[in-house]
Amino acid sequence: MEQKYIPKSSIKAWLTSIKDDGKHIYAPVAENGKTHFKRVKSVDEISMGHVQTAQSAKGMVFPRTEKLFSYVRQQGDVALQDYDPNDIPCSTVVFGLHPCDAAAFKPMTSVFNWGSEDKPFSERMQRVALVSISCSKCDVFCFCTSVNGHPGSTEGSDILLTAIGDDGYLVEIITEKGKALADKHAEFFEAAATCISKEEHLAPVPVKFSAGEVQRKMAGAFEGEIWKKQPLRCLGCGACAFVCPACTCFDIQENAKGSNGGDRMRCWDSCGFSLFTLHTSGHNPRGAQSQRWRQRLLHKFCYMPERLSVRGCTGCGRCSRACPVDMNLSELLNEFELI
């Protein structure tokens, strides 16, 4: 891994040059008290005052709504038009995401490309580069360090910037994609001082539980009362799943255009919705919210580590910040350690 240094004053110029090369730039933009990832027209729109953006960056590769294919009915026959990757912007740089968001691209890839490659997801992945920023502050909901993450982790990023004081950033160039972005505009970068220690510039995120212990306890507690007790106040909305960088559930819908054709759509779904597993017969194998809560946690903290060797949670804390009834995930996971 190559290390460089970039003065704070050069960051905007570097991003502007990338934009002038024709790439799209998505970055955090503050609006009405929340921060959202948006395509920016000018780098001056970018704001970095937040602890965490309202949504994660997953929409870059797994949009909330995507057309998978179209069909037209013609004289008793059906003509299919397959997914067209040319509809995707050819090259996008996501700037300013935090390590917990970058890390989530691994569990997403494991799910979408499990067995066979998911074309829309992979086509988008190829076209996206991640320029992340280490966390210099955290809040009470963050718990990356409890799930193998770290406020300065390079996992998933193409480039990771870490603010060193107020004047500039340590630049860690992790992948070929990252190298290309830095080399193209080498004039903005300087050599990194050999004595820089990243650690002291990172947010102090406390370890709240042992993920291994939680996994072991959960796996042995399928019939436990805890699954019924914890989600009593849960309202069964989709907020936690939709803001989660690692949640990948989707629904397939039909955008029928009369009887002559239409589009097949993929859109976000949540295992917390009561409709998620409802059968046409009326039977619902997960009819109670407690069963859906159990599924959500077991999937993230047991099934994924067992089958895909990756956890379905990076500890970003978004679900807990977004929850209308304060289902604080690290607090609830902690309770498993105690059973």
Partner: protein, 263 residues
């Protein structure tokens, strides 16, 4: 607070109630607590910060079905309870309602519809300055700008339905957005269908909405969807008077209606 704890423990102990819907201290603010034992009741709190509308749990059959229930009701929760009584979603006397009357005399238990309605008449409604400010600001916008404002805000909606889940009056077992034969509203996120969704949600609240703001407070993206409901409440009151007891103004019909196209 201790008065609430001991009263709830007493009711749980004597089996007068099986479940108490109240608040406990949460990560940053009070959060709902569904207490079924004295041990759990010890975590109860009830003060001016307890504003979340707990009436949302009263129509959850999986939680309260077949149970005798008590609830700590903020002013707006009391209003929701009154509407739920009007709509036959609650039976009079079936729920023990704990409120804080404005006379400062402390906790009071409301048993009858008349007591609930009287409380709503007497207690001052918590102010809605922030909401009124939003409405004023939006109304002052020229139409094109107002359209851009709502299009921009609702373009962000990702259809998590937290606004619906947090609303005590959204108790349908099948929501119109989930009806797919025929499909009234496209269920995936896109600006136009997001607008349809919010307009539908709010229209279904006409004359029913308690103006508690739970929908907007629940939205993880901070979209001001409660402002639409707030404005709707204002318009309904202007045109039809206080909704108390009259139900959904879009679905009730009176032979004496002053409009004759309806007859």
């Amino acid at each position: 607070m201790n008065e609430l704890k001991s009263k709830v423990k007493e009711l749980l102990g004597s089996k007068e109630i099986d479940l108490f819907i109240g608040y406990e201290q949460g990560t940053r603010l009070p959060r709902p607590l569904l207490a079924a034992s004295c041990e759990e009741a010890d975590r109860l709190i009830f003060d001016e910060y307890c504003t979340g509308n707990l009436a949302v749990y009263l129509t959850r059959k999986d939680l309260v079905g077949g149970k005798k229930v008590g609830i700590a009701a903020s002013y707006y929760a009391m209003r929701s309870i009154s509407r739920l009584l009007d709509e036959n979603q609650l039976q009079e006397g079936a729920v023990k309602i704990f409120g804080l009357p404005p006379d400062g005399a402390g906790l009071k238990v409301f048993e009858t519809v008349a007591e609930v309605k009287q409380h709503l008449q007497e207690a001052p409604a918590p102010p809605k300055q922030v909401e009124d400010g939003w409405v004023k600001e939006i109304e002052e916008m020229p139409a094109a700008e107002r359209w851009r404002f709502w299009a921009s805000e609702l373009s962000k909606c990702f259809r998590c339905y937290a606004c619906r889940a947090a609303c005590p009056m959204c108790y349908c077992t099948k929501c119109i957005v989930e009806v797919n034969r025929p499909q009234w509203v496209q269920p995936w996120a896109a600006t136009a269908s997001n607008m349809e969704w919010q307009i539908n949600r709010v229209m279904h609240m006409a004359g029913r909405c308690a103006d508690c703001g739970a929908c907007g407070a629940a939205c993880p993206l901070g979209l001001p969807v409660h402002i639409i409901a707030h404005k709707m409440v204002e318009m309904v009151t202007q045109n039809f008077g206080e909704p108390a007891g009259k139900g959904n103004v879009l679905s009730t019909f009176s032979p004496n209606d002053k409009e004759n196209f309806i007859r």
